[in-house]
């Protein structure tokens, strides 16, 4: 449904040509388009048109009502959930935020920004924080909160520079995502990779590990091969951008360490990634 709506808007497909013709085109067009929504790369105008149309499609199971009908009157109210795991950490530990919304056109978490309707994000709060998610849709808005308690760091003073470096790294080096059973660097991943490479070039002392991850479908063994190739392709791209190869290790996690465990495309997409961590 989403696909047909977006295609009808013409002019959107110029840069979404699949780079691997061996797969079904429709499926990948659809997924790319979803991703573009997710990554906020569409112009806001098109986004608005598309999402309005999507919401409209969902609602109009009956013959189309007159155009001037106020959509807010019948649009379902958004719902939102937000969980943090774990909820109590020591300073410097990571927390995984998992959120899920329905019927929302805009999802934000205070201090993090615009987000896809469903997702997972790893954060490293330095102090106790309440994450506040707001989902706005045609039917109103909903919010959800998750509190993370950060215990004081151990008595031994940790060098403040390392904390800063870790946070800096997390803030600037973003994971990239892949198509199903494929390890080509997608067009929409290239700007992200360019920023990742810039950060690494500006911080020549940082060493990193690239983790290759896959979704749950298919064999454990073949998925480790696939994850290896994803991580290796990502390393190759960074090396091509000028980052020294001996600063980068690659490890494939296959489908052994999923970010998300549900059986749907959104979740699978989150798991098909190359993830960056500091190598110590």
């Amino acid at each position: 449904m989403i696909l047909s709506v977006l295609q009808s808007n013409g002019g959107m497909r110029g840069d979404t040509k699949p780079d691997c013709p061996k797969h079904g085109l429709d499926f990948f067009e659809k997924r790319r388009t979803l991703l573009k929504l997710r990554n906020g790369l569409l112009t806001s105008a098109l986004l608005l048109v598309a999402l309005t149309a999507i919401a409209g499609c969902k609602k109009h199971t009956q013959p189309l009502p007159p155009a001037e009908t106020a959509p807010a009157a019948t649009a379902p109210a958004p719902t939102a959930t937000l969980t943090a795991t774990p909820t109590v950490i020591s300073a410097g530990d990571q927390v995984q935020l998992t959120w899920r919304t329905t019927d929302a056109t805009s999802v934000t978490i205070d201090g993090i920004g615009d987000l896809p309707s469903v997702g997972v994000k790893t954060v490293t709060p330095a102090t106790s924080t309440t994450y506040h998610l707001v989902a706005r849709g045609e039917g109103g808005s909903a919010d959800a909160s998750a509190r993370v308690t950060v215990n004081a760091p151990p008595a031994i003073e940790t060098p403040s520079t390392s904390m800063t470096e870790e946070q800096d790294f997390k803030a600037h080096v973003q994971d990239i995502f892949f198509d199903y059973d494929n390890y080509d660097i997608r067009i929409d991943a290239q700007p992200t990779l360019a920023k990742d490479a810039d950060f690494l070039l500006q911080h020549p002392n940082i060493k990193i590990v690239i983790g290759g991850y896959c979704d749950e479908r298919g064999s454990n063994e073949y998925n480790i091969v696939l994850g290896q190739n994803r991580a290796q392709a990502t390393k190759t791209a960074l090396v091509t951008a000028g980052v020294a190869g001996d600063r980068i290790r690659v490890i494939s996690f296959g489908k052994e360490k999923p970010f998300c465990t549900e059986s749907n495309e959104e979740c699978w997409q989150l798991n098909r990634r190359a993830g960056f961590t500091l190598d110590r």
């Binding site: 454990n220 063994e221 091969v225």
Partner: protein
């Protein structure tokens, strides 16, 4: 083959309907599972308890149940069900009344019988196999077992007696009642290597590493398990010695890069595995001691090798060189590569002991948006004709042949829970073997 086709047209036709493949693809099936042969009608009389030791009934029950299940699982007998068999428990050939067993509804052409006693902590079992259709014929088989009295040992003795009967009546192919199945379980909180008897009894953990350990492959002599573990340095092939009860060094399997899916050659002198030590995942072969590593593929998405146990010179493996993974066969030096599957998503090959058949997991309808199942298939290597063994029941993967070539053990995932099942190689007699935690990647011992 043609003779069999003439003799059993209806039988083959019904199979063709059952499995939904071309009738022409069926001729190998007789070879694969002995289904074309008339099965021997076999009755297993309950053992006669001798003496009054309180342990005797418990051990007798364990023996009777295990023996009946082993003979049923063998797949080569038409077993007389317990409800149709006479109540008699003949303790020796002299106590056997043949007419009781040859008459309807039992109609047995063979009877297994015997006596069990427990004395001073010893379990003594006498077992015979008799032909009741011929008056006065000598025993087909006579066995005596004397072991420490325990329920485990009663099961073990029953396994031995079953294997003796199967070897005698099953065309000289040894039974599998004493074989083991190695597998991966997360019951302790992390993926460890476990082992169980072939029928699912006696499950226990082998490794306690606290890492992710997968892909166990038992050595042909049963002394070592090769497997793959994830650490901060990535995946390494590791070696567990069952003689020493601990992991032993195997540096050849730890070179940088993903080292995965080990496979033993049938003579135990070589290991094949997937390694990305040269950058991309390729099939490598090393001597069992770790020496002489050599790369035998060059396409960069190669994994899951399996040696031909008959020739010892060929490898089946999985390659993503054309997109979705497919099954290939090649010589051990990388020559004569032959693609076996034409489409879909095909993974996890295992080679039958006679070298003629492959079993693997295949999703033929695989593709974005397509429905379809990941099922276990059996393929005749010479003709590339195949049989679908599982149907519309979860996602099935990691099939492994039993040493008798009649059985396949595999993993089945339903609603995110993965358990281990076994079946006859034609897909019948499916039995779930594990029920606790998640259990996967079964590997059947060589003997």
């Amino acid at each position: 083959m043609k003779a069999i086709l003439r003799v059993l047209p209806l039988f083959l036709l019904s199979l063709a309907c059952l499995f939904g493949v071309q009738a022409t693809a069926q001729d190998w099936l007789v070879t694969g599972t002995n289904l074309g042969n008339q099965h021997i009608r076999l009755a297993a009389a309950d053992l006669k308890p001798v003496g009054s030791d309180p342990e005797t009934p418990v051990l007798k029950n364990a023996f009777d149940t295990t023996l009946f299940n082993d003979l049923t699982n063998a797949g080569i007998f038409d077993m007389v069900s317990k409800s149709l068999a006479p109540q008699a428990m003949p303790g020796s050939p002299q106590e056997l009344v043949p007419a009781q067993w040859t008459a309807a509804p039992a109609n047995a052409s063979m009877v297994a019988l015997g006596a069990l006693s427990t004395d001073n902590g010893r379990l003594v079992v006498y077992g015979w196999l008799m032909d009741p259709t011929t008056a006065g014929s000598p025993p087909v088989l006579a066995r005596q077992y004397n072991e420490a009295a325990s329920e485990d040992m009663a099961r073990t003795v029953a396994h031995r007696f079953a294997d003796d009967i199967i070897a005698r009546l099953g065309g000289g192919i040894n039974g599998i009642a004493q074989t083991k199945i190695y597998f991966v379980s997360n019951r302790t909180g992390s993926k460890e290597i476990w082992v169980m008897d072939y029928d699912g009894a006696n499950q226990h953990a082998v490794t306690h590493l606290g890492q992710v350990s997968i892909s166990p492959r038992i050595s042909p002599d049963g002394s070592r398990i090769a497997f793959s573990s994830l650490s901060n340095d990535g995946w390494a092939i590791r070696m567990f010695s069952l003689d020493l009860g601990r992991t032993v060094g195997f540096p050849a399997g730890a070179a940088n890069g993903s080292n995965l899916s080990p496979a033993w050659s049938a003579d135990g002198t070589k290991l094949a595995f997937s390694s990305a030590r040269s950058g991309r995942p390729e099939i490598w072969v090393v001597d069992a001691g770790g020496g002489n590593p050599r790369r035998v593929t060059a396409f960069g998405s190669e994994v899951s090798p399996a040696w031909n146990p008959r020739t010892g010179t060929q490898l089946a493996f999985v390659s993503g060189r054309t997109g979705e993974p497919q099954i290939y066969v090649m010589d051990q030096d990388g020559a004569n590569v032959q693609r076996m599957t034409d489409s879909g998503y095909a993974i996890s090959p295992s080679w039958s002991s006679n070298g003629g058949l492959l079993t693997f997991s295949w999703n033929r309808k695989y593709g974005p948006g397509d429905p379809g199942g990941q099922d276990i298939y059996v393929m005749d290597i010479a003709s590339k004709r195949w049989l679908q063994a599982t149907h519309e029941a979860g996602n099935n993967d990691f099939p492994s042949w039993s040493p008798d070539g009649r059985h396949i053990v595999f993993q089945r995932e339903i609603n995110h829970r993965t358990q281990i099942w076994s079946m006859l190689a034609d897909g019948t007699e499916q039995h779930q073997l594990t029920f606790s935690g998640d259990n996967s990647m079964p590997n059947w011992s060589w003997k």
